[in-house]
């Protein structure tokens, strides 16, 4: 069964179509790299998948069930442009909050585990405001992965990460994949994306112009995809 099936999704802002007839089926356990220029609709699509926005037309299902409601949102992990942590709470308090919202059985244990995985356990009582940028990014990653989501939605996760945070994120993504999670990741960092990706989709002006497995050419020459499937001469 497909982890995520997007069927004929249109999104209008006023009368302007940001997404046009987007249809894509992401198999379970896949890691989909969602590529496209700025303004192509990547963030719009991810936000719709995360239930932050409703499609104007079309359906989305996750494992066959409609992709909305509390039960659906408990299975997804979202990492958007903003890191989504509270500056005035400690790292532990941040994770406890989201643990409670995600109805984790033992939020304290889960929070400590997550902090350990991202290497923040020794500073768990420090306020997020006092962390360096890389540490805040790692806290955000801990938040997104804490409840072991089945589907991870990441919007340009590698942007402005330091090397330690990149390593942590890559590690966590690999672990999540080995546990059977499905990942959908939009990115400009083609190199990091291509290493992890099993599938690739290219969005151009709201339309999916290519969707398929990652091929060798994409790893050796990351811009190959744009040149092959994207608009010529741009």
């Amino acid at each position: 069964m497909d982890a995520l099936a997007v069927d004929g999704v249109w999104k209008y802002f006023g009368d302007y179509p940001a997404l046009r007839a987007v249809t894509v089926k992401v198999p379970e356990g896949a890691c989909l790299a969602l590529l496209g220029r700025n303004g192509a609709g990547k963030t719009t699509l991810l936000r719709i998948l995360a239930n932050l926005s409703r499609p104007t037309q079309g359906h989305i299902t996750m494992f066959g069930a409609p992709a909305k409601g509390d039960s659906f949102r408990s299975k997804i992990g979202y990492l958007g442009h903003g890191i989504g942590v509270y500056d005035d709470l400690s790292a532990l308090e941040n994770l406890l909050l989201f643990g409670r919202l995600h109805r984790i059985a033992d939020p304290e244990a889960a929070a400590n585990r997550a902090l350990d995985r991202v290497g923040l356990l020794r500073v768990k009582d420090g306020l997020a405001r006092e962390f360096s940028r890389g540490m805040r990014q790692r806290l955000a990653v801990a938040r997104a992965f804490q409840h072991n989501p089945k589907v991870l939605l990441l919007d340009e996760p590698f942007t402005s990460l330091d090397d330690k945070a990149i390593a942590v994120l890559q590690q966590l993504l690999a672990e999540a994949r080995s546990e059977g999670a499905t990942i959908i990741m939009s990115t400009h960092q083609l190199r990091e994306a291509m290493e992890l990706a099993s599938h690739v989709a290219l969005l151009e002006r709201g339309k999916i112009v290519h969707f398929g497995p990652r091929v060798e050419e994409m790893i050796t020459d990351p811009t190959w995809l744009y040149r092959t499937y994207g608009e010529q001469g741009q």
Partner: protein, 225 residues
């Protein structure tokens, strides 16, 4: 097609209004109030018609939230604009009447206070709209505010009628309960006149909203290219 309807309604309304004004000017003066009593034929119908349009707007706000069709949002804003204009007419005519009868331009009587509250509630709606650039957001937030505003109207009426809250409110003097038979005709026609002209204005405004949205979307498409 719609333009024909607007023209018909407008012309019909205007003709009817002219005829009604003629009837009204030929009525005998009121024993107590003198000439000014004639203001009732526009003052009260304005309030009634405004409430009709506000109720239409409520329906539109709910329909937009359910269906997400921008037609409902356009109809809502048009109805609220025309309704608010009518409330303003009501306030001004009431004030003129008050000056003539009581010697004050504003007396905080129950009716006028209630109408002023309506005006403020929907003024918020009208001020909110230009503050939101994105059309879907604007329509959604406006619909919410429109529903909140309408729900307040009965509460406002209840509040200003609370015993012992305000001792300065004169009872609404224009609310006499029963209207003398010779007044009922012009009164009823007064309401119909405002409904006709109001609807024509709403439809005009609807056209304007539609054109504005088209321009908006064309502009976006141009920038995106």
């Amino acid at each position: 097609m719609r333009d024909k309807v607007i023209l018909t309604l407008g012309v019909l309304g205007t003709l009817l209004m002219a005829w009604n004004l003629n009837t009204i000017s030929n009525l005998p003066n009121d024993a107590l109030q003198g000439y000014i009593f004639r203001i009732i034929f526009i003052h009260v119908p304005a309030a009634i018609t405004a409430q009709v349009f506000y109720t239409v707007a409520l329906g539109c706000c709910i329909m937009f939230l359910l269906r997400k069709n921008f037609f409902w949002d356009s109809l809502a804003v048009a109805s609220i604009e025309v309704g608010t204009m009518l409330v303003l007419v009501n306030l001004v005519t009431g004030s003129i009447w008050g000056r003539n009868q009581w010697g004050v331009w504003w007396a905080w009587d129950l009716r006028m206070t209630s109408q002023l509250m309506c005006f403020l509630l929907y003024l918020g709606y009208l001020l909110l709209r230009p503050a939101i650039a994105e059309p879907t957001q604007r329509a959604t937030m406006s619909s919410i505010v429109g529903i909140f505003a309408y729900a307040d109207i009965p509460l406002v009426d209840m509040a200003i009628r609370m015993p012992g809250v305000r001792t300065q409110h004169p009872q609404p003097v224009l609310e006499t309960g029963t209207l003398a038979p010779i007044y009922r005709g012009p009164f009823g026609i007064g309401i119909i006149v405002l409904l006709l002209i109001g609807t024509a204005l709403i439809l005009l405004r609807l056209n304007q909203e539609h054109a504005k949205r088209e321009i908006d979307s064309l502009r976006r498409q141009l920038h995106a290219a």
